[in-house]
């Protein structure tokens, strides 16, 4: 047996989505087999539990959507940088520093300014802080062509340690090593609950950001510049695009949106800050963005998938007494198939037997 791999020229969307659907079905089947072999549980029941975990009640559904919103927002933030082939893996740090700025406003200004003024300052400072965290690696890359993968990663550690430092400075009560809920009584700087629900603000911002990012990348002049720089710096220079300017501008946007996500995490969702408040989503977002091939609309689905798997995983780990690791195995299998199937979308594999060349017109 001989496999021959050939590139598909024009891939019809029916083919690509057919392959993707098949990949998910196969992944679920393999997960089912793995479940039975490893745990002895009924895989159908396990799957049901996952759905219940993510959407089992109104509250669970809202939390799922809110988590999707935050992950989506961070993914959207990274996307313009990635399109420019600037590997911003500093989402984590940009989110954290944005959150820290928001928390600083809430803690230090409580009682000194009206809540509305605090909120305005929170928005400004967290967006600015995130943007600054994106600016530093960008200016280094633009001026001295430093490796952005390393510099953005290093900025993450700085942000984490800064948060760790201020958590001790602001800890309540002293010695606890935690900040706890900020302004629990005054609610100063707590971002407003829209339509009487604390979940809607994040979701609404994510929706707006998705549409805005989609239009920005697809139709704006700046979005076009990002694509040109990403595809070929030489071409960009040839038409007079100032590459350093585009790098810095794009990373300011990238960082600013991450800062916004940090603001939501602190000001609207958790009302506290810890070093793990972004929970690795700065990195997960890299995967979300890539899986969606940098298309903001597709990112809605990829972030939903990741969040669904996560929420479902927690549910089955409690419902079936399995630990979180088992759910991670399943997530791994499913992602493997989803990423792997891209190969079969782009390439066609045909089998030809040796010494028997196909007769074909």
């Amino acid at each position: 047996m001989n496999f021959h791999i050939s590139k598909r020229a024009d891939v019809k969307w029916q083919v690509s989505w057919g392959v993707r659907a098949a990949a998910i079905v196969i992944a679920l089947l393999i997960c089912a087999v793995m479940t039975t072999i490893i745990t002895g549980d009924n895989p159908i029941e396990v799957y049901k539990a996952m759905i219940v975990g993510a959407f089992g009640s109104a509250r669970k559904s809202w939390v799922t959507l809110q988590n999707v919103a935050v992950l989506l927002l961070i993914s959207l933030a990274l996307t313009p940088a990635f399109k420019m082939k600037f590997w911003n893996i500093g989402g984590e740090g940009q989110v954290l520093i944005g959150g820290l700025a928001a928390a600083a406003c809430m803690i230090t200004l409580e009682g000194k300014l009206p809540s509305a003024a605090i909120m305005i300052l929170m928005v400004i400072t967290s967006v600015a802080a995130g943007a600054f965290w994106g600016f530093v690696p960008a200016i280094c890359k633009a001026k001295w062509n430093t490796n952005e993968t390393l510099s953005t990663l290093m900025m993450n550690y700085i942000a984490t340690q800064l948060v760790a430092y201020y958590v001790v400075v602001w800890e309540v009560p002293k010695g606890s090593g935690k900040i706890g809920i900020i302004n629990q009584n005054s609610h100063a700087g707590w971002l407003p609950e829209l339509f009487g629900s604390k979940y809607i603000l994040s979701i609404l911002i994510a929706v707006i950001a998705t549409v805005a990012m989609y239009i920005y990348l697809k139709s704006s002049k700046q979005g076009y510049e990002i694509s040109v720089v990403g595809e070929s710096e030489n071409t960009a220079k040839y038409v007079g695009i100032k590459v350093p300017k585009v790098i810095v501008r794009t990373m300011l946007i990238s960082g600013a949106i991450c800062g916004l996500a940090g603001l939501l995490l602190v000001g609207s969702i958790n009302h506290t800050i810890t070093t793990t408040i972004s929970n690795g989503q700065g990195f997960t977002a890299v995967m979300v963005s890539w899986l969606a091939k940098f298309n903001p609309i597709t990112m809605v689905f990829t972030s939903l998938l990741i969040v669904f798997m996560n929420r479902g995983a927690s549910e089955i780990s409690t419902a079936f007494g399995l630990n979180q690791s088992f759910a991670d195995i399943m997530t791994g299998i499913i992602l493997f198939f989803i990423i792997g199937c891209e190969f079969f979308i782009n390439y066609k594999v045909t089998v030809a037997k040796k010494n028997k060349v196909k007769e074909e017109a």
């Binding site: 020229a9 076009y224 694509s227 030489n234 071409t235 220079k237 007079g240």
Partner: protein, 506 residues
């Protein structure tokens, strides 16, 4: 059936999606012959040879090697059949030596000494000149090519495929290559050369096989044929080999280059004290072997190459002068200087391969208007006009440019660059890799710009074309002007001589 043929293709078919690259090709390569494979761009020459060397696998048909049916599924398989290919773009590792590159990927223990001896043996046998211990990055293009050929021979190839081997060589180097090929032929090896240059076909090959639109048209014994017959078979209809050269009218200085010097990042002088003037309504040809500074010269004028000293002065119709040095392409455009540039690296600099025709048309114009959104309507219209007028073969204007063939890519690029009626048009190797029809289409476009009063700088590699098209020819050698000759009266050997004489000295 020719059982004795080194290679026999039988009904070979290969498709890429909806494009048929080869249809039902039946032809052979005899033992001990040099076969030229001739065909226009996109006629399927390289595809056919890639199937022989195991890079592609045929969708239909059979390949026989020495009379036996072969299943070539990988380049490794190809080597076991004694087939080796030297690609247009060399596949060498810069930081390794020649010997290391040659033995790379072979089984067994690495013994550079033994390898060096065997390499020397091969070199002596065929007349190559390779230092096994020289690093690739220190080598000239022709030396790299030699390493590629030795690499293939080292693996015991009896059937060699060379994809446009002379595209990067000087006439002298080409002669040397041909001498080596003749030695190999006398040793009984079969050689297939893919090329566009008819005089080389006539000089080197025993037989010419011609492909047209993926199909095998037939073959000719070289000694019994001529360039006209080959061209006719290749294009399917007669093409006049005369390039038009309209008279220069209303000419006045447009671009004045004075004392221009460029030093590259490594501190090497790329251009030294260049002086010349380009006039409106004329074509100034630039001749020189590769690396003589043509690229730096054009890029310096276009605002892409930092310069050491000197000026590039653009002279308006009303006599106003503007120094372009120190300005980037955008600033030059903002001055109202319509300067168009068709660079050598089409997909790496002139166009964005992964973008469609419309988006590529936008590259120059996307800033227009005050809106933060880019206008895609007029670029789309321009794309449609270019496709229409220049007969670009493309499924639609929404097709990625990199999916088009070389000639069509060039038409898209040239079409965009001339769309804003340039006062200065610079082209670097405008017809490199293009078939005859596309080349003539490009010459016509350039002539049209000349007639409309543009000052054209045409960097070319084919001296015949330069002599037929240019009004004046500036010859560069190692970054210095070695002479400026009149295109109408200059002799080919005169220009050839200047190309190798630094600063025109003896």
């Amino acid at each position: 059936m020719q059982q004795t043929a080194a290679v026999q293709f039988k009904n070979i078919t290969k498709t890429f999606g909806s494009v048929t690259a080869n249809r039902d090709v039946t032809m052979s390569v005899e033992k001990g012959e040099i076969l030229s494979l001739l065909g226009e761009n996109g006629s399927g020459k390289t595809t056919l040879m890639n199937m022989l060397s195991g890079i592609y696998y045929p969708d239909g048909g059979e390949i026989y090697i020495n009379g036996e049916k072969a299943n070539i599924a990988s380049p490794k398989d190809a080597f076991t059949y004694g087939i080796g290919m030297v690609h247009q773009h060399f596949k060498l590792i810069d930081v390794l030596t020649a010997a290391e590159n040659i033995v790379l990927g072979l089984k067994g223990k690495l013994n550079t000494k033994e390898a060096a001896e065997k390499i020397k043996e091969i070199c002596d046998k065929y007349g190559f000149d390779v230092d096994p211990n020289q690093k690739i990055y220190n080598m000239s293009v022709s030396q790299k090519q030699t390493v590629e050929i030795v690499k293939v021979l080292y693996r015991g190839a009896d059937i060699l495929i060379l994809d446009e081997p002379t595209a990067v060589l000087t006439p002298q180097e080409t002669e040397k290559l041909f001498a080596v090929l003749r030695n190999m032929k006398n040793d009984g090896k079969s050689i297939v050369i893919i090329t566009h240059k008819l005089h080389e076909v006539e000089a080197i090959s025993d037989r010419v096989a011609i492909l047209r639109k993926g199909e095998y048209v037939g073959s000719l014994i070289t000694s019994e044929s001529n360039a006209q017959e080959m061209t006719d078979m290749m294009v399917g209809h007669a093409v006049t080999l005369n390039i038009e050269r309209p008279d220069v009218v209303n000419s006045k200085p447009r671009l004045k280059i004075e004392n221009l010097s460029v030093v590259d990042a490594e501190g090497i002088n790329k251009l030294t004290d260049i002086n010349f003037t380009v006039n409106s309504g004329e074509i100034l040809g630039i001749a020189g072997i590769s690396g003589c500074g043509q690229k730096e010269l054009l890029e310096a004028i276009a605002g892409l190459q930092p310069t050491q000293s000197g000026t590039v002065v653009f002279i308006e119709d009303n006599g106003d002068e503007e120094n372009l040095i120190g300005k980037d392409p955008l600033e030059i455009a903002k001055l109202g200087v319509t300067l168009s540039f068709v660079p050598e690296d089409r997909l790496g600099m002139g166009l964005v391969g992964s973008m469609d025709l419309t988006d590529n048309m936008m590259l120059r114009s996307f800033r227009s208007g005050k809106s933060i959104f880019a206008d895609r309507k007029s670029p789309k219209k321009l794309a449609e006009e270019v496709v229409d007028e220049l007969e670009v073969v493309t499924p639609s204007v929404d097709t990625e440019v990199r999916k088009l063939s070389g000639g069509n890519v060039q038409k898209v690029l040239v079409g965009r660059e001339i769309s804003n009626k340039p006062k200065v048009l610079m082209t670097a190797y405008a017809v490199r890799g293009l078939d005859i029809n596309s080349s003539y289409a490009i010459y016509d476009l350039i002539n049209k710009q000349k007639k409309e009063g543009a000052a054209v700088i045409f960097v070319g590699e084919d001296l015949d074309v330069l002599l037929a098209l240019s009004d004046r020819i500036l010859v560069l050698c190692e970054g210095k002007v070695s002479g400026i000759v009149d295109g109408r009266t200059a002799e080919k050997n005169q220009v050839g001589l200047l190309m190798t004489k630094v600063g025109g000295e003896q």
